[in-house]
């Protein structure tokens, strides 16, 4: 995979498969600390310690017993190649949390890519899940919670063209605002 946002999509799909009701995705771009952090947290069925060891090893997984693939090992390898870290914790019946960190400026770090589409996709294709997207660029954040939106829609599908347009623009402008405000703030301090 060529973009970190595709990895986020892949990891979040695991959470959906694990029957999570609540999934929180966090993206932190902290250029001052030279850090890129991604995390996906769910309240799905969780894994025991034996399974947890298996999901990070590409060679001992067995597709017939459970949905485990190459996604997690690939992401772990990508982080480790960029002075980063990888952490996964899980408890049966409670859920799973995965955190990966990268050196932001590392030359081998994959680009984040199109995370608006990743989020939009997860939201539209999995309306049964309560989604939270937390985005931060240095000092400015954009937090997206789908609950008030779904309450306002009152059962209307998010894939209705006008609604889809509204949600997409909300995600795009929220992320762009966080980036622009942060960059503008940075400039004014140095002037």
């Amino acid at each position: 995979m060529r973009e970190l946002s595709l990895h986020i999509l892949d990891i979040a799909e695991n959470s959906v498969s694990a029957k999570a009701k609540n999934i929180t995705i966090e993206i932190v771009e902290d250029t001052k600390a030279d850090l890129l952090k991604l995390s996906v947290q769910d309240d799905g069925r969780g894994m025991d310690s034996e399974m947890l060891v298996k999901v990070v090893d590409p060679f001992v997984t067995s597709r017939t017993t459970r949905k485990v693939g190459l996604g997690i090992p690939l992401l772990k390898a990508a982080a480790e190649e960029c002075n980063g870290s990888f952490e996964i914790t899980s408890r049966i019946g409670e859920g799973t949390k995965l955190i990966v960190q990268f050196q932001y400026s590392h030359i081998d770090r994959m680009p984040l890519g199109d995370y608006t589409t990743t989020m939009l996709h997860l939201l539209i294709a999995n309306p049964q899940v309560h989604w939270m997207f937390l985005y931060r660029y240095n000092d400015h954040s954009f937090n997206f919670n789908d609950e008030p939106i779904k309450a306002e829609l009152g059962g209307m599908s998010m894939s209705e063209p006008l609604i889809l347009n509204w949600i997409r623009e909300m995600l795009e402008s929220g992320i762009a605002d966080a980036q622009n405000n942060s960059k503008a703030g940075h400039v004014s301090k140095t002037q």
Partner: protein, 122 residues
């Protein structure tokens, strides 16, 4: 300067969407399913999905339920797209690029004509 949208705004958009939907005669539910296993994502399923969502938005295609499935065991044919219209049998398409997805939405979903060139048997 902030362009962040308010829920008040969403209320208005929802009412507009309701009006448009009511004008259209319901022709049964249309379900569009994208394969989203690791294999699908690596093969470009997100771009296919993006193309579907863009087309729904641009062409104002109302009443389409967009959903997803995991790996269905034919990873070499990913990205996979399935279309179910009303009571008709599910049609499966393989190697669906963004352009092919657009074509399927237009011809199959729009005019009820199956795009046989890209259909696969599973």
């Amino acid at each position: 300067m902030s362009t962040i949208k308010s829920l008040e705004d969403l209320k208005r958009v929802r009412e507009e969407a309701l009006k448009k939907r009511d004008l259209k005669a319901s022709s049964g539910t249309v379900q569009v399913i994208v394969g989203m296993g690791t294999c699908g994502i690596a093969a470009g399923a997100r771009d296919t999905m993006k193309s579907i969502l863009d087309t729904i938005e641009k062409d104002s295609l109302s009443g389409i339920i967009v959903t997803q499935t995991g790996c269905i065991g034919i990873c070499e044919k990913e990205p996979i797209l399935q279309v179910v219209i009303g009571e008709a049998a599910k049609v499966t398409y393989g190697k669906v690029t963004p352009d092919i997805a657009k074509k399927i939405l237009k011809e199959h979903v729009g005019n009820g004509k199956v795009v046989t060139d890209h259909m696969i048997n599973i």
